[in-house]
């Protein structure tokens, strides 16, 4: 059975959302096709599941390109296809395709695909399959790319089974001082260059929220260079004591953090999909997201959470106050791994089964 050569930024050993999304795809495909991962970066060493092997990350960009070419060229009869895990790697996948004939699968995570990247050579990559995590990302990609829309499909993010309802964690409640509060939570990187997640909008809204729900507390989880700015916004609004920055939370603590909160809010304008919505909802939290980006998919057009116009403060206030009174989360199990894996395998079967020598 021929294998899949995966060109990704990071995967096993990586901590970010991209690494997780790549791992989810490969674990789904490993049941039907061996996956050979070549990461650009590898932060640590991590075990790979059966059917997936990960190569050592080359030290430099040029070494990565050379390694990818050498591997694809030497293994052009061994590989069925190339998986390209980031749009910025698409020129490499395109070049490999042109020189070896190997078809490639381009996976789009979000904001990177909303505008043509300057380094992108041409706007019509010969990708046999393009998957986008959300309708919004797909639409933005198709607005500049010449890829046939029929070859551009959706493969939404999925979430791990460990995100499930459970009791509040006494340990976390104590650690972060959550007792006696109605906790509004946002999890995400605090980046000054990407202020789209809407932390500042929610901080500005806190005085009005506190008028209606005095015990409200806004907990911001995540590290990054934008914390001083957000702290200054909180101070200016006079809500410093009601906004708590808890820094980056270890991955293993995330389910308990969700379970120890009352409402997940992220009025973002730049989500490719918003996997955190799924994780929060799967842990039993009501969720609120923006309707102008990929969040609409994670919230299933409002079935799995409340969608708001992120710039409309009145609408956001109404949703937050309503959400704090809400009991029980909406069902997001449709995004759980079995459906995701089935869909990923079906796409492989449709587009690449002719080369892999295996049934889908």
């Amino acid at each position: 059975m021929r294998a899949l050569l995966a060109l990704v930024t990071d995967c096993y050993g990586g901590n970010g959302g991209l690494a997780q999304a790549n791992r989810d795809v490969f674990e789904a495909l490993a049941a039907i096709v061996p996956v050979d991962v070549l990461p650009r970066l590898a932060e640590g060493v991590s075990a790979t599941p059966a059917g997936v092997s990960q190569r050592k990350a080359p030290r430099s960009r040029s070494a990565y390109v050379a390694s990818a070419f050498a591997r694809a060229w030497a293994g052009r009869d061994r590989y069925a296809a190339v998986f390209c895990g980031h749009l910025h790697l698409a020129p490499l996948a395109e070049a490999i395709h042109r020189s070896t004939g190997l078809p490639y699968w381009l996976h789009l995570h979000g904001i990177e695909a909303w505008r043509p990247p300057s380094a992108f050579l041409g706007t019509a990559p010969s990708a046999r399959l393009v998957t986008a995590v959300s309708r919004y990302t797909r639409r933005r990609f198709l607005s500049w790319s010449e890829v046939d829309p029929g070859r551009c499909r959706l493969l939404p993010d999925t979430y791990d089974a460990r995100f499930a309802p459970g009791p509040r964690s006494r340990q976390l409640v104590e650690r972060y001082g959550l007792a006696g509060h109605r906790v509004i939570l946002t999890v995400g990187r605090l980046s000054s260059s990407e202020r789209y997640k809407g932390h500042d909008r929610l901080i500005v809204l806190m005085p009005r929220i506190l008028e209606k729900v005095p015990e409200a507390l806004y907990v911001i989880a995540g590290g990054g260079d934008d914390r001083p700015y957000l702290a200054s916004v909180a101070e200016r609004c006079g809500v410093s004591s009601k906004v708590r920055f808890i820094g980056r939370v270890p991955d293993e603590d995330l389910p308990d953090l969700y379970r120890s909160s009352d409402l997940y809010v992220m009025p973002s304008t730049g989500e490719g999909f918003g996997i955190v919505f799924l994780e929060a909802a799967a842990c039993g939290l009501p969720v609120i997201g923006g309707r102008l980006d990929g969040s609409a998919d994670a919230l299933r057009d409002g079935l799995a959470g409340t969608l708001v116009d992120p710039g409309n403060m009145d609408e956001l206030l109404k949703a937050v106050v309503g959400g704090l009174q809400e009991r029980g989360a909406k069902d997001v199990s449709v995004f759980a791994k079995p459906a995701f894996a089935g869909h990923a395998r079906a796409l492989w079967g449709e587009f690449f089964a002719d080369r892999s020598g295996s049934a889908s």
Binding site: T123, A132, S134, R135, R138, R139, L142, S143, E146, P149, G150, C152, R153, L154, P156, D297, R300, D301, L303, V334, F335, A339, G342, H343, A346, L347, E350
Partner: protein, 600 residues
């Protein structure tokens, strides 16, 4: 002939469909089917089919749609007519199929159940079909080979909505309103929006002669069952070519299958007269002729009513003339442009004659559209190959195109005549495609930034790739110029302009316009005759119908020019005058006015 609509929330993450969404979509097609409505939803709640009915065959409830078999294995909605449905029915009955009514829809359903996707090549007619196959758990969208009937879809990655008209999809608010620059660029280059593009990025036309299959993974073309090029080049006729007279007579006879009276749109030209002459020999259905005449005839739109009436009397066809005045035209101008599904340079003629047909109580009409493409009636059949040869050498000289583009406006000014298209003589691709773009071109590519803005024009031309699309249409068409120009005319001008106009303009009044000269069997017969002997021409069509070619080719035109230059013209016409200048050809100003109106 009807309006069809569907919604399929195919992706596993998508919620169930909302019934009110399908109803809203369907009601945007109400004008296409005033006689009834229907809807069907799958048990899984993810598929909905909607229908507006114009009853023509089997006027009872048995002909209602959506149409399902007794086990609901297959459910379909269908727009068009299957002219050979009686013989297909007999064949299916011999195989044990039992029918509830007499409709062609039920025959289509049973034929699909019997033969699956092989059935599409068995159909003689015009059709756009959406069917749900519960056995394969997939939705299929299918159009006839010529693309006579329209079918558009919008796929957002979760949900695929389909409808007979672009305006229904966009008006339903179920699809993105983001503009498609390629659609706008194509319109200005050719005078109609070239498929698969529309003016909206998410909305596309289903490819004629192909099956678009949608399942839980998404939408893809799963089968090509025919093409215009294939009709001209691939299809061996088992029994050899029939005499032309028999082939045309056959097509006319098939196109008369109807349970309601049939109107013939009659001008003084060969195509419509040939159809009328052959139709009156069939006694199967009540027939009448209709000619549009103008209160203010002129050289570009002569009054043909006298000649048409005399001809009708000679062949024993009941006939009436509808006189259209400038006042009528102005009174209906807004309604006409609002009914227009996609901007088009043409359509006023068929809109007004269909209105007259409906007022006379008719809902089926035969039109001579397609005759010029099939029998090489256009000057393009002579000019395009000639221009291609003449321009080959000068176009090969590096830089000649740019130099000529700079010089040509001065030459035109000095001569005091000549179209702006002349500037592009040496700037088009070499060969037939370039010559065709010149012949059929309305504006030249370098004029688009003025009309659309630079960014949209550049993006539109890049996405449209019109020369490449024309070249694609010429692949595997052999060496015959006649066949190659016929393929271009049938795949572009006929499909994107004439047939689209016949559809929306007829359906705006609930009139089904049938096209006996756009027929797969007839095209294959003419192709076979063309391959085995002298190319069939208009004179042969005339003699096949027992006519003499006693007058030069006449179009079916309206004096639109005088009307749009009137003081009573729409504000968009005045805007076009200001934008382009009154010295520009009226068709360019009209095209701009129509586009501005559609972009409101």
């Amino acid at each position: 002939m009807c309006g069809i609509a569907s919604i399929y929330n195919y992706h596993y993450a998508a919620p169930q469909i909302r019934r009110e969404d399908l109803r809203v979509l369907r009601e945007h097609l109400r004008h296409r089917g005033p006689d009834g409505e229907g809807e069907w939803y799958s048990d899984c709640g993810r598929v909905g089919l909607g229908h507006r009915r114009l009853s023509i065959i089997d006027l009872t409830d048995q002909g209602a749609q959506p149409c399902a078999d007794e086990l609901s294995r297959v459910v379909l909605v269908f727009n068009g007519e299957i002219y050979n449905h009686p013989e297909l029915r007999r064949e299916l009955e011999l195989k044990g199929h039992r029918f509830r009514g007499r409709s062609d829809t039920e025959v289509l359903l049973r034929l699909y159940l019997e033969e699956g996707d092989r059935c599409w090549t068995r159909l003689r007619g015009m059709f756009a079909v959406v069917l749900w196959d519960a056995r394969e758990r997939c939705l299929k969208l299918v159009r006839d080979v010529h693309g006579i009937k329209p079918l558009y879809y919008a796929d957002d990655g979760w949900r695929l909505c389909a409808a007979s008209q672009v305006k229904a999809l966009v008006g339903s608010r179920l699809v993105s309103h983001e503009k498609e620059p390629a659609g706008a660029a194509g319109y200005f280059l050719m005078g109609s929006v070239p498929e698969p593009f529309t003016l909206f990025r998410e909305v596309r036309a289903v490819e004629p002669g192909q099956v678009l299959t949608v399942d839980e993974r998404g939408a893809r073309y799963s089968r090509r069952f025919g093409s215009v090029q294939g009709l001209w080049t691939d299809r061996p006729l088992e029994s050899g070519a029939a005499p032309l007279a028999q082939a045309v007579r056959d097509s006319v006879r098939y196109h008369l299958v109807s349970d309601v009276p049939v109107m013939i749109y009659l001008s003084a030209g060969v195509d419509s007269r040939a159809i009328a002459a052959l139709a009156v020999q069939e006694k199967s259905v009540s027939l009448s002729g209709l000619t549009l005449a103008f209160d203010e005839p002129g050289p570009e739109a002569p009054d043909e009513s006298g000649a048409a009436a005399a001809f009708a009397e000679r062949i024993g066809l009941a006939h009436r003339t509808h006189r259209l005045s400038g006042a009528d035209f102005f009174a209906s101008q807004s309604a006409f442009l609002d009914a227009m599904d996609q901007p088009t340079l043409d359509g006023a003629n068929i809109y007004h004659i269909s209105r007259a047909a409906r007022l006379a109580g008719y809902k089926v009409a035969l039109s001579g559209v397609g005759g010029d493409e099939l029998f090489a009636g256009y000057p393009s059949f002579r000019d395009v190959p000639l221009w291609a040869k003449l321009l080959w050498l000068p176009s090969s000289i590096p830089g000649a195109g740019d130099v000529w583009r700079r010089v040509s406006p001065w030459v035109r000014r000095w001569l005091g005549r000549g179209s702006a298209k002349v500037d592009g003589l040496l700037s088009q691709p070499r060969g037939l495609t370039g010559a065709y773009l010149l012949k059929r071109g309305l504006f030249m590519p370098w004029e688009l930034p003025d009309l659309l803005g630079k960014e949209m024009a550049v993006e539109g031309l890049r996405r449209l790739r019109l020369p490449e699309r024309l070249s694609e249409a010429l692949r595997r068409t052999g060496r015959s110029d006649r066949v190659r120009v016929a393929c271009l005319e049938m795949c572009f001008y006929l499909r994107h302009q004439l047939l689209r106009d016949a559809d929306w303009a007829g359906m705006a009044h609930g009139v089904e316009v049938r096209t006996p000269l756009v027929d797969t069997v007839l095209t294959a017969q003419v192709a076979a005759l063309n391959a085995s002997g002298p190319a069939p021409a208009k004179a042969d069509l005339a003699s096949a119908a027992g006519l003499s070619v006693d007058r030069p080719k006449s179009g079916f035109t309206l004096p639109v020019r005088r009307w749009i230059e009137s003081d009573r013209a729409l504000p968009e016409c005045k805007e076009a005058d200001r934008k382009l200048g009154r010295t520009q050809h009226w068709s360019r100003r009209w095209a701009y006015a129509v586009y501005r109106r559609s972009a409101r």
